[in-house]
Assembly symmetry: C2
Homo-oligomer: 444 residues x 2
Amino acid sequence: MAVNATEAKRLKEYIAKGWEFHIIEMLHDLKPVEIAELIEALDEESRAKLFRLLDVSTASEVISELSSDSREDVLDDISDSDLAKIVEDMDSDDAADLVADLKHERAERVLAAISPKESSEIRSLLRYPEDTAGGIMQSEIMAVPSTTSVDAVITQIRQKASEIDNIHTIFVTDNNSRLVGSVPLVKLILAKPETPISQIMDLDPLKVPVTMDQEDVARLFKKYDTVVMPVVDKDNRLLGRITVDDIVDVIDEEAEEDMFMLAGADEDILSSSILKNASARIPWLFVCWVGEALNSVLIKGFEPTLSKLVGLAAFMPMILGMGGNVGSQSVALIVRGIATGRVTQRYFLNIIAKQVGVGALMGVVYGLMLGLISMVMYPDYRKMAFVVTLSIFNSMTLAALVGTVLPILFFKLGKDPAVASGPFMSSVMDLIGVIAYFSIATWL
Amino acid sequence: MAVNATEAKRLKEYIAKGWEFHIIEMLHDLKPVEIAELIEALDEESRAKLFRLLDVSTASEVISELSSDSREDVLDDISDSDLAKIVEDMDSDDAADLVADLKHERAERVLAAISPKESSEIRSLLRYPEDTAGGIMQSEIMAVPSTTSVDAVITQIRQKASEIDNIHTIFVTDNNSRLVGSVPLVKLILAKPETPISQIMDLDPLKVPVTMDQEDVARLFKKYDTVVMPVVDKDNRLLGRITVDDIVDVIDEEAEEDMFMLAGADEDILSSSILKNASARIPWLFVCWVGEALNSVLIKGFEPTLSKLVGLAAFMPMILGMGGNVGSQSVALIVRGIATGRVTQRYFLNIIAKQVGVGALMGVVYGLMLGLISMVMYPDYRKMAFVVTLSIFNSMTLAALVGTVLPILFFKLGKDPAVASGPFMSSVMDLIGVIAYFSIATWL
């Protein structure tokens, strides 16, 4: 089923030899996503060659599965009129995504070359922000007036089946195109042919407003375990539908966003240039840099203490490192807990108290262990063992507190709790660690 | 649609006053998942009270939507015979999950009280590991022999429609229950009643082996944009089906796993005790502790250098902090890139080279900035500016290298690349940072 290395190798051979017949036969048994996989494995020139061998309807499906790199290779090589044919054959949401990626002039040429109905559909989809319901919906839907009989609906499905993939649900509208109901296919099968659709439809169906954020749309899909949702405007007029396969992509995207936020990066970072890469990451690291610069000034202030016992420096990375790690553990736990709803308003105090307890308990364990090592390393200076034990206990407990409270705080302020992670957290932890360590050392 | 605070408050009032009629009327308009949300908002006692007011079919849907906390509250309170009725009404996959959570004796009592067919279905589902296709599939399927006519299939759907939710696809089997084809509902609608199903079925349908890891199953759903997949044994016999709503949960779970691996924790950590919490996190932190202890010994070795210039200690957290942050950025990028397939075999060297370039470029920027600060803080010791500039450049470049290579290496060795993140990474980075810093300082 999946494309394997042997197949890819064989294909490269055929392309090198120009055996088009063999290539076409080989592609015949593959699904579009598998052809896309093969294309990814080829070099720039062969990609274009292979793509030109596809028929329009296959090409239109393959192109939406390609990475932006290969897509560019392929698009550079085909004529505007061929591209127009492909765009016309695509689902409207995929077509809009493709057109949005084209250079302005080419996009206009392509839109001018396809049917006015299709091009106006694509233009209107392009108007919605990318990460809203409007940005991910498609215009192809099965919608019928509520007076239609089951029999007539089936006739309409017959006419539209080639145009609309994956019909799961028929939407029912009133005279003003307002959504009034929905009928899952299975109900249609079970009903008598002459029944009016209004008698078997679900009233008050689930639906999403066109302006809703895609993350909220995904949450509704998850909550109601549904495979398709109609999209409506503010007057409840039916505009399109969102299918679950697009939602799966949204969920992936959002998980990636959370993860990349930890790294202060965005999704395109892997494919962009070194300079762009660096400029995207520099602001994130700047927060860290400022914190650490402050730290350097602080440590300089403790120079008298340090000069008395240079050995204090030896344990500094340990005090900071253990604090930092506990802190980022706590942040990850809480950020994820909030995202999945496991950390709820009701339990905040409870959770904070528990996490601090965990930090303190681990602080005792690791503090005592380092105390022992200190006694071996600095046998002449017994007080050092006290200092490190107390400091680790202290930095781990505080780190657990800060790492738990910060994301909850951000969440309560209506910000993404994941902001609390990353450099901000590490800088705060390092500052706390250094102050605590040297205060204890001075005091002893 | 969604449950709001007012509704929850009103419900609490009704429960306090014992107005059962009002409660039942209120619940009547809600979907199971919304009732579950309301239950979550109640205290222990009211949860049980509310749950007892539900009819069996609603209760069986509500219970699969509850968190493990509320589920326990509710289950503690109902009789074995009521529970048996509920289990009997649940989808087999949800029923198996519920039974797996019960104490052994209670599970046996419940299984004994339901129909032998259902209980043997549940027992066989319990045999599959939780995170495989078998662990997430349900036994309720529409399967017909290939000789059945479209008409006869529709009659069968009519009989089974109440028992099976969300029929999307009819599976077709041969005499030995082996999967030979599948028919999407829409094709059934469009075919003539007397057509044998074998004429309209898709041959060689997508399917997953019962032993396949759930993450791989999810990947297939994403790849082929499908809403349901049949599950087969090694002889291609049809065992059950997996629907996309369960896949959405799997994707969420796996993203969580990645994130929690960064924190060395598992999903139950938020709800377990302080001691359990600490013991789960201690091994993860131990890796860090060992690394840092090694670091302390190293720094002690550099004491002569440190005594000459105590100020060197002031910039240590900066050198380590910047390295650590660049390193964890890189790890997050690569781990995610591998998970989404954006980082592929073919590009490994390319990606490594680029990331090192990014690290070096950022190292120059931040190194020079700290050099300036050093000249202000230690005007008498110009060499210090050199040392810090070079050290930051050095630690950021190396961190980018290590943070990129480690996850790729783990991936190539067949391990989860996320293992590279967390304490292992931070300890390696700290060690590299300290050695580089003091080597440069000694040398100058």
